[in-house]
């Protein structure tokens, strides 16, 4: 069977104390699947189990028909033999090696592409001789991606790979990642909190909560609102009661706005609460923002 098939259980400690991570997934070969969910829901642990960095308490992992883990039969293939490219949240760049050497370290022994190719693709030619600690967050992330791809992996695991980048660089690297992924046809599992990133990169999304997969489907199936109205998630910053109305100052993304809501509705709210704001009918005015 092509792709990654897994069914694992592991007791882990997370944001909500100890819980059992229970995951069952069937990730098709050559596709990009994403793990989405709040912090502490077990996404990174699951990625580490797939990579072989953590062992499940029980279960099986089969990739392209080859068992990587089978707890019943005592099978555990170490991470070195799984041919995985992994981008860590903290990048894990080797501090004593230059950018060039970090990438070269990952190249397989017999390989027809050289470091120069990855330096060029990930726009790292100018910093090839620099040490990781002298790079910006975005450059570090690109080095981590380049190193993961240089391994020429059959499975690419990305733990929030674009989280430290600004929106322009994120868009550029998303497209680059998409192009590389499509060219190489690497099966990819991506952990991300960014819905736009998931829409761009993932064909399938597993939504996780408290260690379990609560739903899965295409990004559209998972994220599109079931109603036709526009829904925004906002954080309440402050509220001012004005008779029967309450003026609530909310943050929506990078914007701060003030809304008038009814006093009884506003009474239980306290600053810091997350609100879902729905607009039932409207005629949007759409303007393209310049990225530079």
């Amino acid at each position: 069977m092509e792709g990654l098939v897994l069914k694992v259980d592991k007791t882990v400690s997370g944001r909500w104390g100890r819980f059992t991570l229970q995951a069952e997934m069937d990730i098709p070969f050559g596709k990009c699947s994403a793990l989405f969910g709040p912090s502490g829901s077990g996404k990174t642990t699951l990625l580490r189990i797939i990579a072989g960095l953590d062992k499940p308490d029980q279960g099986t992992i089969v990739f392209n028909g080859r068992p990587w883990v089978d707890t019943e039969n005592g099978i555990f293939i170490p991470p070195q033999k799984r041919n995985i490219g992994f981008v860590f949240q903290d990048y894990a760049l080797f501090p004593a090696m230059t950018v060039e050497k970090n990438i070269a370290y990952s190249l397989p022994a017999r390989c027809d592409t050289d470091v120069g190719y990855y330096l060029k693709v990930f726009d790292l030619v100018g910093v090839r001789k620099k040490l990781p600690q002298t790079l910006s967050g975005g450059q570090k992330q690109r080095v981590a991606l380049a190193r993961a791809c240089a391994r020429q992996p059959t499975l690419l695991l990305l733990d929030e790979p674009l989280s430290a980048l600004d929106i322009c660089m994120r868009r550029d690297l998303q497209n680059e990642l998409l192009r590389i992924r499509e060219n190489l046809g690497i099966t990819t599992i991506l952990v991300s909190h960014d819905i736009a990133e998931l829409f761009c990169l993932a064909t399938n999304v597993y939504k996780m909560a408290k260690g379990s997969v609560v739903s899965n489907g295409t990004p559209r199936e998972i994220f599109q609102s079931r109603t036709d109205c526009l829904e925004l998630t906002a954080m309440l910053l402050e509220k001012k009661m004005q008779g029967v109305l309450c003026l609530a100052t909310v943050a929506v993304g990078a914007e701060v706005s003030t809304l008038a809501i009814s006093a009884p509705e506003a009474a239980p709210l306290v600053p810091g609460d997350l609100l879902r704001i729905s607009v039932k009918a409207f005629n949007p005015v759409v303007t393209v923002l310049k990225n530079d």
């Binding site: 990579a51 991470p79 995985i84 760049l93 501090p95 370290y105």
Partner: protein, 223 residues
Amino acid sequence: MTIDPTPFILTIKLAAITVIALFLVGMPLVCWLFFSKSLSSLIVRASIHLPLVLPPVVIGFYLMVFFSPSFFVGAFLAKWFHLQINFTFTGLVIGSVVFNIPFMVNPVLGGLEGLSPSLYEASFLTGKGKTATFFKVLLPSVRPSVFTGCILTIAHTIGEFGMVLMIGGKIPGVTKVASIALYDEVESLNFSNAHFYSLILLGMSSFLILILFIVNKRFARIC
């Protein structure tokens, strides 16, 4: 005042050989201690701390007994390899290596434990094993700790007395190092010579500590 430079030459030679030997022996040991989760590694880890708490003369005494012809190890070395360890420069080197293990191993282990585990995990995921990961990724990442270990080893070798006297004696030109020469001068009431030896040893130790601070500060600025 006539000063024999031989004890200083011997001391420097002993320190140089000890630091090289200890690096070659100590780094594979550190690699094993760092990655191993076995009980044996825990026992070894605890036992290499012994030289920190035991009087050096005790280590010297047991090493002397260990390599004496009346004990099977000494007898074996003498019979099959015609090797005598006690009261030779080789004996001094062995004693010095044993005595200095914690001073080399502990700073490096401490440095490694301060690194993020994702560093060696990332190396494993590129297909490299523990040994390659240790020598190519981890050890270069803790260069200041390795340097500290080397300097501490040299400094302790220069200053060691009890263990050196016990296993090496004080054979001029062979095992009579600077600290023992100083003791001899005091015993002979040659205080001017003793002052000279002391000042040179004080200068050497101060220089090493200064180098340690300068280099560590430089590493801190780079990293």
